[in-house]
């Protein structure tokens, strides 16, 4: 019930807003903010009610109601730890986004309604445990997002929004076909759990289904080379749209791999893993290289998302507890840090109405607090220890290095160069926007953060530091889900190895070559001073 409330509260709020007068934009802003804050407050009950102990149920807050019983479609929702984290990310980010969108002056009513509908669809996507329900929420996102970009976007918005829509929609249709195929081979149910346990299909069919799902998800992530819709969509979208897009929508793709593509088709996942991992690494470097040559701030941040999501995908493909945990954590981190980057870029845009980097320069003196926040967010984005980004990147790279896929160390090493490139393009951006002398007279009198803007950006900065220094509360819920996925793929791996004894194990963490006796070494350094200093 609680989960259903979190899902539908924003939609309910949107319905109410539909009856409020459009001529009162202030009312709509306040109402939308109130509804999103209320949703966040209710979702906190999920956060504190979730049981992350090893023995706890896999899916909690479960609700199962018949919906279209004759076709085996049910209203089945529930959360595992990873979905919980992403739901919390969504409910926490939405009020921030709504507050940041108070500056939208055009069709405020429709704008706020779109954001609230979007929130319902996003939470629903993460919570759904029925394939059709999932598909409905998944595609449901396209409508408000299409409108957000198409109506409130900037000059080239129609091109961007059509591209966004058709790109993601076309790929998703393949997923729908795959879902129907699954329905026909798991005993006539669209239920996720039923599909996962009862699916009986041949190996080639599994591969095709994996590809169909993976394509839909890979477009959303977006993975190289399916990424070109993203820079356009980001650049043209209003700030709120960019933040939601980067903050939550992209994670639907990586979440899809975690929840659907890999556990439903484990054999095929193992089969395609090297290719996906390689594409992830290509994406890391390619996205970073693209960032080096962008002249548009939003486009640069968009390409940096390609790079960061490459890290997430690499972590997932590592199939080690470390890598998967890192991947999940990096989903949250990217939501926070890239969301914050788009918010800050949006604030600059509202002041100067340009996204061109060359229009800025030397404004740190005018807007010291914006500059400070931008630098902190940049540090998170480039993974400085002490910020959240480090924990994610470190776990991903270490998890990849410690994996068992052949050549995984090489992938980890190549991916680690992305850390260098990340520093190059982000610090260069900071330098070109904030440092140097003011060349453009229009920049001479920019106002610094307003109180509202401070309220928008402060939670993000706080989250960056808290999640960097104390990540454990955010990592703990993911643990059971991660362990289950590793175990599931290990099972598949064992099956394959039983069929082919020459095949080495390829899932899970390699144990240390030389065991360091863990707790026995508590006094090891005390033993170090053999010269009698004790």
């Amino acid at each position: 019930m609680l989960l259903s409330l979190v899902i539908f509260l924003p939609l309910l709020g949107a319905l109410v807003a539909a009856f409020l007068p459009a001529a009162e934009p202030g009312q709509h802003r306040g109402w939308a903010l109130f509804v999103s804050l209320l949703t966040f407050a209710v979702s906190l009950a999920l956060w504190f009610g979730f049981d992350a102990r090893p023995g706890a149920a896999e899916f909690q807050f479960e609700t199962r109601l018949p919906w279209i019983a004759s076709a085996g479609i049910g209203y089945h929702i529930g959360l595992d730890g990873v979905a919980l984290l992403l739901v919390m990310l969504t409910t926490a980010l939405t009020p921030v986004v709504i507050l940041s969108a108070f500056t939208v002056g055009d069709r405020v009513k429709e704008f706020m309604i779109a954001l609230l509908v979007l929130e319902t669809a996003m939470v629903g996507t993460f919570a759904a445990l029925d394939l059709v329900l999932f598909y409905v929420f998944w595609e449901g996102i396209l409508i408000p997002m299409y409108l957000l970009i198409g109506v409130w976007g900037s000059q080239n918005r129609l091109y961007a929004t059509v591209k966004f829509f058709i790109y993601t929609f076309a790929a998703s249709v393949l997923m729908l076909i795959a879902i129907i195929y699954v329905y026909m081979h798991d005993g006539g149910s669209f239920d996720y759990l039923a599909a996962r346990s009862a699916l009986q299909i041949s190996a080639p069919a599994q591969r095709w289904l994996f590809l169909a799902f993976a394509l839909a998800f890979a477009v959303k992530v977006p993975m190289f080379p399916l990424h070109t819709w993203l820079p356009d969509a980001h650049t043209e979208a209003p700030t709120a749209g960019s933040v939601i897009l980067a903050g939550v929508l992209l994670k639907m793709g990586t979440f899809g791999f975690f929840r659907y593509a890999m556990p439903l088709f484990p054999d095929a996942a193992l089969h395609f893993r090297p290719a996906v991992a390689a594409l992830a690494v290509v994406g890391i470097l390619y996205g970073a290289l693209m960032c080096l040559v962008q002249q548009d701030m939003k486009r640069l941040v968009a390409y940096s998302s390609v790079s960061h999501l490459g890290f997430v995908m690499l972590g997932l493909m590592a199939l080690t507890a470390e890598g998967l945990t890192g991947g999940v954590y990096q989903m949250l981190n990217h939501g926070v840090s890239t969301g914050a980057l788009f918010l800050l870029v949006g604030m600059l845009y509202e002041r100067r109405h340009t996204r061109l980097i060359s229009e800025y320069g030397g404004i740190a003196r005018q807007v010291p607090w914006i500059a400070t926040a931008f630098v902190v967010v940049t540090l998170s984005s480039i993974g400085l220890p002490g910020t959240n980004g480090f924990v994610g990147e470190f776990l991903i790279l270490a998890g990849t290095w410690l994996g068992r896929m052949p050549g995984t160390q090489v992938l980890a090493a190549i991916a680690a160069t992305g850390v260098v490139l990340g520093a190059v393009y982000m610090l260069w951006l900071v330098e070109r926007v904030f440092f140097g002398t003011i060349r453009n007279d229009e920049n001479r009198h920019l106002p610094d953060l307003s109180l509202r803007e401070a309220l928008v950006i402060a939670p993000m900065v706080v989250a960056i530091v808290v999640m960097g220094l104390s990540p454990q509360p955010f990592l703990a819920p993911a643990r059971p889900a991660v362990d289950r996925l590793v175990a599931r793929l290990q099972e598949a791996d064992a099956r394959l190895r039983a069929a082919d004894p020459s095949r080495p194990p390829s899932v899970g963490t390699t144990p240390p070559a030389v065991a360091a006796s863990p707790r026995a070494a508590e006094g090891a350094l005390a033993a170090l001073p053999a010269g009698g200093s004790r």
Partner: protein
């Protein structure tokens, strides 16, 4: 025995940074200075109290909670205060406090905001550096490692309205990041070997290892322990080469002089840049198992020492000379920690912190007197105008030159003798490394003596060469006070490095012996009996080269430099232009990277993927629909015509195919 108060050594400066960062603008300069200096001084007192314990042979620890864990990997917060990290802590907070004090006067010209910002960053640096030093695992060291990099970035680009300075800050960060890539690879290699990042557990595990054991599992299956650890430690050393400005990653340090001079003194001379030396010393038990890595560390250190000393010959910017000198001295330290004379490397780190901080602060004082002119060709005769600065500068110059009996002589000699007489696992396998390092190091020492005397002579001796030099004035006591403290320290630190047979002989070596005991044992380091002749050679080299430097720039041979430049103009220009290494990297790496990115963007992203594939798909669909559209144009007559023709065709085929 848990000592949670150790956290205060990190949290005090961190708190100072927070308070000054958020409220500094409103507190006023005096309060900002009080907080900024106060927290570091308090940290120094804390470090001294802890150090007293360590002297009696205790090792202090502050175990902490889990930072993060996943799978079998667990990274914890925990501090370790032993004789090595204790020594470093004293240097960092002690020299740090002095430089903070100096800065209160040096940075007076800043407005309130800039003043608060400066002390925020400086305190942040101390907090990060203490994390680096005190962390009891690779993870925490790495946290501090990147943290000091951040502080360095912010401080080099402190005057960010100057594009050049902002660029220098970014260059420093990026070059360091390249090094950090190596650190990370080493880190992962260690994780896959031992499954832990904790120094204590690593030491314990390494103690049981035989270098020749062949590993059975993991990414290094089939490798020997030595081979795997060589890879790991070389990874670390790449990180060290970045942080401690060694070949080929030293290029950021000379540019880092764009920062305010106290920053150059604290971060880019005394403390941060020695972090690499500290890391090698801290993980000595791993390096001891990897003789090849020790050889690489030694060789790179020696090559860097000589290479940058050569560049320093021709520099005319007082801070640039000192910067190249720092690179060179760091090379010496790496010779020490590379060739198995770990204590000597760390000892030189300590003495160098004193005299190089003094030199840089002296340079800052000179810049104050000269209205921020840094060109030594415009100076001269400042000795009379700035007596305190000049005297302390002279003491430190003699110390770095290696004149008996100042501290630099003993620490440098301990390193060179250690390399020459190295008798350990490395010298067994690579006997040429030690003598080579000795030779290069001695040449570098001669170079050091020469260019330092040149620097002193051009700055302080002779007659003023410009109007500014004629009107230079001594700085405030708040500035020259710390100079004297450091100068005195540069002298008395000599007791730490006296030769073994003397009364207090090798006191520092014996003091740090417990830290390096495992490494000494594993690498089979044999103590050598102190021989007299290297001392004599070192002394002779220092005096002759230093005397030559003095003679050529302040004495009777004053014509020689100009003639030399005339005789070999291209060589001279090559040296002035710093051997054009920056240009080489630009041509080799930076430009191609940009070109590749641009090409991929234009040809790959915009054209191939977007135009051809994405929009191509759309255009193909559109083309098909155009074809089908012509069939559905709503013209009933045409429909009827098509229908009739089709019916006829079908009839015809049916009758032909089905008929007899």
């Amino acid at each position: 025995m848990a000592q949670p108060f150790l956290w205060a050594l990190i949290l005090l400066p961190a708190a100072g940074a927070l308070v000054n960062g958020f409220f500094g603008r409103r507190l006023g300069k005096a309060n900002v200075a009080l907080i900024g200096v106060g927290v570091v001084a308090a940290a120094f007192v804390g470090a001294a109290l802890a150090f007293a314990q360590v002297v009696y042979g205790n090792v202090l620890r502050a175990p902490g909670d889990v930072w993060f864990e996943a799978g079998a990997l667990r990274i914890s917060f925990g501090l370790l205060f032993d004789r090595l990290s204790g020594t470093l802590s004293l240097v960092v907070t002690g020299v740090g406090a002095l430089i903070h004090l100096y800065s209160t006067s040096y940075m007076e010209h800043e407005d309130d905001f800039g003043y608060a910002r400066f002390f925020t960053y400086l305190n942040l640096f101390v907090a990060a550096m203490m994390t680096l030093v005190l962390g009891d695992s690779l993870a925490l060291t790495f946290m501090g490692w990147e943290g000091v990099g951040l502080a360095s970035y912010l401080l080099i680009g402190f005057w960010y309205t100057d594009e050049q300075k902002a660029y220098c800050g970014r260059k420093a960060f990026v070059v360091n990041r390249i090094g950090d890539f190596g650190f990370l690879i080493g880190f992962f290699a260690i994780l896959s070997l031992f499954g832990t990042a904790d120094y204590g557990q690593l030491a314990e595990a390494a103690r049981k290892l035989q270098g020749s054991t062949v590993l059975a599992t993991g990414p290094f299956a089939g490798w020997t322990v030595t081979a795997a650890l060589t890879l790991a430690t070389l990874g670390f050393f790449v990180g060290c080469a970045g942080k401690s400005a060694q070949l080929p990653l030293y290029v950021w340090l000379p540019d880092a002089m764009a920062g305010p001079t106290p920053v150059s003194a604290l971060i880019h001379a005394a403390t941060m840049v020695t972090a690499g030396v500290y890391l090698v010393a801290r993980t000595s038990f791993l390096f001891a198992l990897a003789p090849a890595s020790m050889a690489v560390v030694t060789t790179v250190g020696a090559a860097t020492a000589l290479f940058s000393a050569l560049i320093a010959f021709a520099q005319t910017d007082i801070k640039k000379v000192l910067a190249y000198s720092t690179v060179s001295q760091l090379g010496f330290m790496f010779i020490g920690v590379g060739s198995g004379a770990w204590f000597a490397g760390v000892l030189h780190l300590v003495t160098h912190a004193f005299f190089k901080a003094c030199l840089f602060l002296g340079a800052g004082s000179v810049m104050h007197g000269m209205r921020d002119d840094t060109d030594i060709r415009n100076m001269g005769g400042l000795g009379r105008k700035m007596p305190q600065t000049s005297r302390t500068f002279l003491v430190s110059t003699l110390a770095i030159t290696g004149i008996v009996p100042l501290s630099g002589f003993f620490s440098k000699d301990a390193i060179l003798a250690g390399a020459l007489f190295a008798h350990n696992a490395m010298s067994e396998r690579y006997p040429w490394v030690g003598p080579t390092a000795y030779l290069l190091g001695t040449l570098a020492a001669a170079g050091t003596a020469f260019y330092m005397m040149r620097l002193y002579a051009l700055t302080f001796a002779g007659e003023p060469r410009t109007e500014a030099a004629r009107h230079a004035h001594e700085s405030s006591p708040v500035m020259w006070g710390p100079l004297w403290v450091l100068a005195v320290l540069a002298v008395v630190a000599l007791v730490l490095g006296l030769p073994g047979s003397w009364a207090w002989g090798e006191i520092f070596g014996r003091f740090t012996h417990p830290v390096f005991a495992q490494a000494i044992e594993v690498a089979k380091v044999e103590e050598h009996a102190a021989t007299f002749w290297p001392f004599a050679v070192a002394w002779l080299v220092a005096v002759v080269a230093g005397g030559l430097g003095w003679a050529m720039y302040a004495g009777s041979l004053r014509r020689v430099p100009a003639r030399f430049a005339e005789a070999l103009p291209s060589l001279h220009r090559f040296a002035v232009e710093k051997f054009r290494v920056d240009e080489l990297y630009d041509w080799l790496l930076v430009k191609p990277l940009g070109r590749v990115a641009r090409f991929l963007w234009r040809a790959g992203d915009a054209f191939l993927i977007d135009r051809v594939l994405v929009e191509g798909t759309a255009r193909t669909a559109a083309a098909f629909s155009r074809i089908f559209r012509t069939l559905q144009n709503g013209d009933v007559q045409r429909y009827a015509a098509v229908m009739a023709v089709a019916a006829a065709a079908i009839l015809w085929t049916l009758l032909r195919g089905g008929g007899p």
